[in-house]
């Protein structure tokens, strides 16, 4: 009887220790845990001031950490669903002991918000962009900041409750002139965001920023996830926003 009590207590202690170890392992930042020892990581984009982006040079694999042996989460691609040049915003660089440099990128796809690492040689030269576009779903307003100040602000329409506009950090992927589609207005911006509820949509459900033929619905929540503006507003924004500009949807 006494021996079984002692055994039970031991098992409880062992279980508790295992649970604590598991909790500690889960709480540790995975990137840090997987970053090669000695790597020097430098942030290259702050997503509100100066940021950098690049076109891919190869269809390189995207890894979960800056190592060729790390888990592969996808690969770079050259063309978007609208057959425009895909680009990637660079978040950080990691210089390894070996001298190789890896770049952490925002990796568009579902779920939104993925990041991954590619060798520096997988990307072409960096382009610099200043500022970011803030999309506030509560105030239904989009504001473009540059040099620390707002240079553009306009009311917007966002997704309905059933097809909500996703929140998070994204960027301007493409600048388009719309043809034969008054519903999109005269100009459109493709983003790196994907609508969470419309996976079967042609093109994969990319969230765009575009004009509209129903300006009376702006500001409001009439869309399938896209961000709609009055045609005059998207025309102005299209003219002043740069490719690769970070977008923050709150």
């Amino acid at each position: 009887m006494g021996a079984s009590s002692v055994g039970l207590a031991r098992r409880c202690w062992v279980g508790l220790v295992l649970l604590c170890a598991l909790a500690i392992a889960l709480m540790a930042p995975p990137a840090l845990a997987l970053t090669p020892a000695g790597a020097v990581i430098t942030r290259v984009s702050d997503l509100q001031g100066i940021s950098h982006w690049a076109y891919p040079d190869t269809e390189a694999l995207v890894h979960a950490s800056p190592s060729a042996h790390a888990r592969v989460i996808g690969k770079l691609r050259f063309l978007t669903g609208d057959e425009q040049a895909e680009l990637y915003i660079a978040l950080a660089s990691a210089r390894l002991r070996s001298g190789r440099t890896w770049i952490q990128i925002e990796f568009p796809g579902r779920p939104n918000g993925q990041t991954g690492w590619v060798p520096r040689t997988a990307l072409e030269a960096f382009h610099t962009v200043d500022g970011y576009l803030l999309v506030d779903r509560s105030t239904l307003r989009a504001t473009l900041f540059r040099d620390g100040g707002a240079i553009f602000s306009a009311p917007i329409g966002v997704g309905k409750p059933s097809t909500v506009t996703p929140a998070g950090h994204f960027y301007v992927m493409e600048k388009l002139i719309t043809l034969n589609a008054p519903v999109y207005g005269p100009y459109a911006l493709g983003t790196s965001a994907y609508a969470p509820t419309l996976q079967e949509w042609p093109g994969g459900g990319v969230v765009g920023i575009h004009g509209t033929d129903e300006p009376q619905l702006i500001p409001g929540r009439p869309s399938h996830g896209c961000i709609r503006m009055r045609n005059a507003d998207i025309t102005r924004l299209w003219a002043i926003i740069d490719l690769g500009t970070p977008i923050e949807v709150t």
Binding site: Y55, D57, T58, F78, L79, G81, D82, E83, Q84, A85, L87, E124, A125, F152, S153, A154, T163, K175, L176, I177, T178, L179, N180, A181, V183, Y184, P186, A188, G190, A195, L198, W201, P202, G203, G204, G205, V206, V207, G208, H210, S223, H224, G225, C226, N231, A232, D233, T235, R236
Partner: protein, 615 residues
Amino acid sequence: MPIRDNGEQQRRMRAQRDLHACGRPGRRLALTRLAALVLLAGLVLAAFMAPTGQARGARHQRSPEEEATIVAATEARQLEREERKQIEREEQAAAKAQREAEIEAARTQRAANKRARSQQGGARRGVQNSSRPRLNGDVEFTCTGVTWNFKEFPEGTNTVITVYKLFGEGSPVILPKTFTFTGSSDEATTPFNAPPGSYNVDAWAKWKGNGLKGSFDILGKLTCGPAPALSVEKLQRIKNGPPTYTTSTLNGEVGDTVEYEIVVTNSGNVPLTLTEFSDPNCEGVSGGPGSAELAPGAKTTYTCTRVLESPGPHLNTAEVQGDPPYGDGNPVSSTSNTVTVETSSLPANPTPAFSIEKLQRIQGGSGSYTTSELTGATIGQTVEYEIVVTNTGNVPLTLGSFSDPKCDGGTVSGGPGSAALPVGASTTYTCAHLLDAADQAAGSYANAVSITGTPPEGGGLPVSNSSNTVVVEVPASSPNGTGSTTGSASSGVLSSTFSEPAKSGVLAFASATLPKLKGPQGCVRHSFHISIKSAGVASVTFYMDGHKLKKLTAKNAHKGLLTIAVNPDKLKVGVHKLVAKITMIATASTKAKQGSRMVRILRCSSKALTPKFTG
């Protein structure tokens, strides 16, 4: 024994006293009745015996005829008085009815005026005082002005002098004005835009002439709140056409440039900061107050232009937002009228033509751009070029095939891009060239730029022109075979050392590594160039997806580069590989090295498409 109160005792004592004074009660009552009868008889007799009022005071007794005459006259006077009173009552009733009709008419007129002003969009606000009706005029105060109603004037021409005073903070605002109208009535308005605040108002009018003289002076109070408002009017004219701007529809031709004026007026009573100016079909927007506030009543003008690139109507509308100071109301926006240019097709005799002028200067020098020869230039200096292209024909032109052997790769900028150059318009390209050993070896060089202008379909054939030739002298100040060429801040394409004199424009590099290919990034949609440094290269053959494009040798080198132009029109959307197979020059110590370089060419769809967004 029962107890009685004092009141009952007193009543019993008074009854005993009466009994003692009058003896029996029946006898006393009889005496009282007798006295009353005597008094009544006397009164009746006096009434019969007394004379009439008219005869009272008469000294003699009248005859019956006289009495009859007097009675008749009295009756006539009474009848006359009654008739007069009846007439007066009727006149009073008529006057009252007239006054009521006038008041009602004035009320109806004011209501009609108010409705009319409301329908005209006239914002009336903050009215704390309504005027009283006047015989010949009335007045209505608002924060946007005073409205005068003149009525019941003689037919013909009437002139009224009015003065409207507004007493608030500071000196009173006085708005004198003279109205002239024809007919018996008219309405006039003295516009005003009162800033927020409370005011005493005094409206005074005077008229004399046309057989009528009169005036009124009406006082009142007015309280006005902040009312931000603005209006936008858009006007247009065809460049090189009639100089007057108009809101009317104009007729233009393809290639014409439309000039627009957008006049923004602060029609409210608080200052506005104009933001979010929008005019989607206009380019080169300038003017406006910038970040400065636009005062109430003030106007500002924006200008912009548009090139008519296709037949059909070209519509333009501008929109402006005005932000009032904090606490003075919400931002307001206004959309202008829409102006239209009906654009006919190309001219009957399309004549595509353009001119090119090339100018140059030494970077960092004190001289300005010139077409003259630059002398005394030295190796390492950079020559900056300005190429001005002017469309001298009568159709717009899309410029292409820009060729200038002395524009270093990557330095060309400016120009209209893919947009058409309007008729009569000019555009400027810039580029630069780093003076190198080859230039010095030649002693001087001369060059010109050539460009092709392509009109729209039906506008004639493409035309090519060359600019004037400019000359740069690079005297041999450094001994041949030594020296260094440093990188140019403008191009960054040359950074090398050389050890022997230049031969045929090819430098023999110490390094025999294969030069890299320089190609476009991102999408290609138009013609582009692929170049490779010619230094040490004997020949290079370019392939696109395995198909041979062109072979170049050292003889084809320009500015140290071997370059081919690639037209991507025949490339499918997607990724393509352009490979350069390179053969290096053999030296005394090395064999002719061979190798290849590759660049990826990304052919994209046009930017103009139907997006695949979720919408």
